[in-house]
Every structure is written in structure tokens, then in C-alpha cells.
Symmetry: C2
Subunit: 213 residues, 2 copies
DNA sequence: ACAAAAGTGTTAACTTTACACCCATGT
DNA sequence: ACATGGGTGTAAAGTTAACACTTTTGT
């Protein structure tokens, strides 16, 4: 019996979730896009396996994976029996940009509501991971990972609106977020876009693991 | 490589959580207590495996297992490499009583803060399951499974106090619970104990999946 | 009659919601 | 000057928290 670790790595750009996929170069599902994954070797834990299979694609280690779901349908892999265990992690978009040495023909980020042809049962894996992510991202520590510094409140608000599936009042959002005492102004302002520039914030050093909204 | 499903089956008696364990009759860990578990066979899913390994111990099927955690340390089993996937389920105490044909020398319920000698890494598995349970039990559908009918509000309050780790005001608890509109009076009263008998309640037909407290 | 546990109502503090105008920048 | 998006305050409604006495049963 084989066990594989599967990684759903997410990022947020303009309030939209994106997921990391790579294109399979061999059969089965040649040319389809799949999540990074790796068979667990005898001397490796699941956590080590998931870390290696992602580092292999984008060169990033130490990303704080969290376990998500399992997939054990007997026929989920057409060539052999493989039980899959999914993990999720999030990564901020600046870190991605500084690692954009990746070949976008074979590794790329896709918006979750506009995915390419997906191989194996990875559509299900992605769907399950997205649900889990949507819960987790409401926690302050997850927010901090994806918005490490120099974010604006409108950015975070857009993300919340997507997660929660409805719009939020700007004034109330701001009041609640600031009252939580998790963030502080950097003193700078965003630039480059239309309209009045937004203030930039950063998370304070010791963010509690607090559920917001 | 082997994969096993491990089941943490909980019940609540007098506001105390108990977990189902059985005593190992063979080495390794002969005489120690462990959670029901079973190796996943080639033609079985994890869910089928966990269901079978519990039914084998207490004769109950169809218990709505939920996935909980994974355990993949290389040396967690001294004889061979086994990756463990844990599931939790809850069961109401009346159902247990009507199935008490079990041999309490080899299968028994233990309070989670007073466990016997535990084999393998099952202490960790139990600890992880307890944390998960404590979150889940705050949801109305989980409550309904463990208190299907004819429960009193003081019973549920005791359970909440244990889960949340602090006492709750009886009047406020009652107000909040009743306002949620999830339960209705049966018309009967509890009996047999000291003091004024408590009203009995049942959950309404279609309980929403609502987080209380 | 007494002990034990359940049931009940009111008020103050806090939280959440709803809502409209002004401000800083780019074009 | 105008279009774009960001920033701010207040009042009403709802929710939570604090608190003490009465009721029903068993002994």
C-alpha cells in the first residue's frame, strides 16, 4: 500500500485565492494539472514528505503545513492503490514574487474559481482544502502569514468578503479590526492606485490566535 | 507500508467524557489498553476500515465517523512502519447500555482524565481526539448525537462547563440555549435524584449546525 | 422542616449594525 | 474639476453578563 502527501498551497492576490499546481509530464493524466504530491518513503514522516514535494516545485521550505483531509477511495489512482493525505499552507504574494524563478509552463498559480484541467481526484482535494482554508484564514495567525507586513485594511476586507461570501461595511470592519489590537500603522501609505492612498499596517509581534468575524 | 485507521469513540456520563479502549492480548504492548484500530486492506477505504474495527469491538455500525489527525512518526509502531489516521465519533450513553453485552475485562470505557496504561502512541491519539471533540461538541448536531432525547438542561450545562473549562451562569445558559430554538420540552421530568426534578427536553427534528458558546 | 437541585426576571455593560459625508490622490 | 477609492462618528438594536430569590422534590 502507498501513502502520498498532497499539498494545497494558497496565496491571495487582489483578494482572490490562488492555488499552486504543476503540469504532469507523464502518464497517467499527462498534460493535466495536479497539486504537488509525493509518496511517503519508509524513513519519512508525512510532514517531511509534504515539505519536500513542495520545495521541489518552488524551492520554499518551512512553510507550516497543516493537515487537512484524507482520500482513500480504492480507485482514486488508476495505476495503483494510494491513500492520499492533504495538507494546506499559505504564502504571501511578496515571497512568491521573490521566488518567481519558476517555469510558469510547468508550475503556476491558478484562481480557485478558474482552474485548468485537473488530474486524479485533485479537484476534490482542492475543494476540501479551500473549505478548510476559509475557516483558517479567519484566524489572526493565518492572516499574519499571508499579510506579513505593509497591508492595507481594504485588502484584508476584500479577502474577508470573499471568505464570508458577503460584503462588509467598511466603517464597522475597520472599527472591529482596529479594536482587536492586533495591528499597528507603519506610518506609510500605499501608492500607485487610483483614489486616496490607504494607510499601511503591520501585525504586532505577538499575535494571539484569535478568531475575527 | 501499512496504514491503519484508529477510532476514538467518546461518550458522556454525568458530564464526564469517556473513551472506548480495549486490552491487547498479544505482544507488543500485551496487557496495555489501546484504541480500536485496523490495518487498511487493499479493497477498503479508511472509513470502511474504521467502521469495521469498532463494530468488531462493540457491535455498532453507522456511527458517523469524522476524520481527526494523522500519526506518521517512523518509530510509532515497534514492529513495522504504520501510518495512523485517527477518527472520532460520539455515542449516547443509552445506546451503550443497550449494547452492554461487552466483556468489560477486554473492552471498557475510561474517563479521559483517569486512563489506564496505554499502548503505542495512543495517548497522543487520544489527546488529539479530545481537543477535536471539545470543538465539535459545541455544535448542535454533535450535541444531538450524544443527547438524542430526554436530556435536561443541567446535564448539557455540566458538559459545556467541562468543555469550556469554566462555570456558566445557570440563568444565562438556559436563556441562550432556549432562545436558540433547537430544543423542545418533552413534557416529562427527570426523576430519581435529589432536589427539584429537571424538565426533560429533546432536540427538534431539523437541528441546524449551529455553534453555541 | 430541611436539604438539594431546578426554575425564573431585570438591569447595566458591551457589541453589533446601519447609515452619509469628507478627504487625499491621479488624471 | 472630477473621478476614484479611503477615512471617520454616532445612535439604535441586540447581545451578553451579573446578580438573588422562589419552587419542587426526597428524606
Amino acid at each position: 500500500m502507498n501513502i502520498e502527501a498532497i499539498a494545497s498551497i494558497f496565496t491571495i492576490v487582489d483578494g482572490k485565492f490562488k492555488v499552486l499546481l504543476f503540469r504532469k509530464k507523464t502518464e497517467p493524466y499527462k498534460g493535466y494539472w495536479v497539486l504537488p504530491n509525493g509518496i511517503v518513503e519508509k524513513d519519512k514522516t508525512l510532514e517531511e514528505t509534504v515539505e519536500e514535494c513542495v520545495a521541489d516545485k518552488i524551492g520554499l521550505w518551512k512553510m507550516d503545513y497543516e493537515q487537512c483531509d484524507t482520500f482513500s477511495a480504492v480507485d482514486r489512482n488508476p495505476t495503483k492503490r494510494v491513500i492520499g493525505i492533504s495538507f494546506i499552507s499559505i504564502i504571501d504574494s511578496r515571497t512568491i514574487e521573490s521566488h518567481m524563478n519558476m517555469d510558469i509552463d510547468s508550475v503556476n498559480w491558478f484562481e480557485i474559481d478558474n482552474l485548468p484541467k485537473i488530474g486524479y481526484d485533485h479537484s476534490e482535494v482542492i475543494a476540501s482544502s479551500v473549505e478548510t482554508l476559509k475557516w483558517k484564514i479567519r484566524n489572526s495567525w493565518a492572516l499574519k502569514k499571508i499579510f506579513p507586513s505593509d497591508f492595507t485594511l481594504p485588502e484584508i476586507q476584500k479577502m474577508y468578503e470573499q471568505v464570508l461570501g458577503h460584503e462588509l461595511d467598511r466603517r464597522n470592519f475597520r472599527k472591529k479590526f482596529l479594536k482587536s489590537d492586533l495591528i499597528e500603522e507603519t506610518g506609510d501609505k500605499a501608492s500607485g492606485s487610483n483614489g486616496r492612498p490607504a494607510k499601511l499596517y503591520r501585525f504586532k509581534e505577538n499575535v494571539e490566535n484569535k478568531l475575527l468575524f
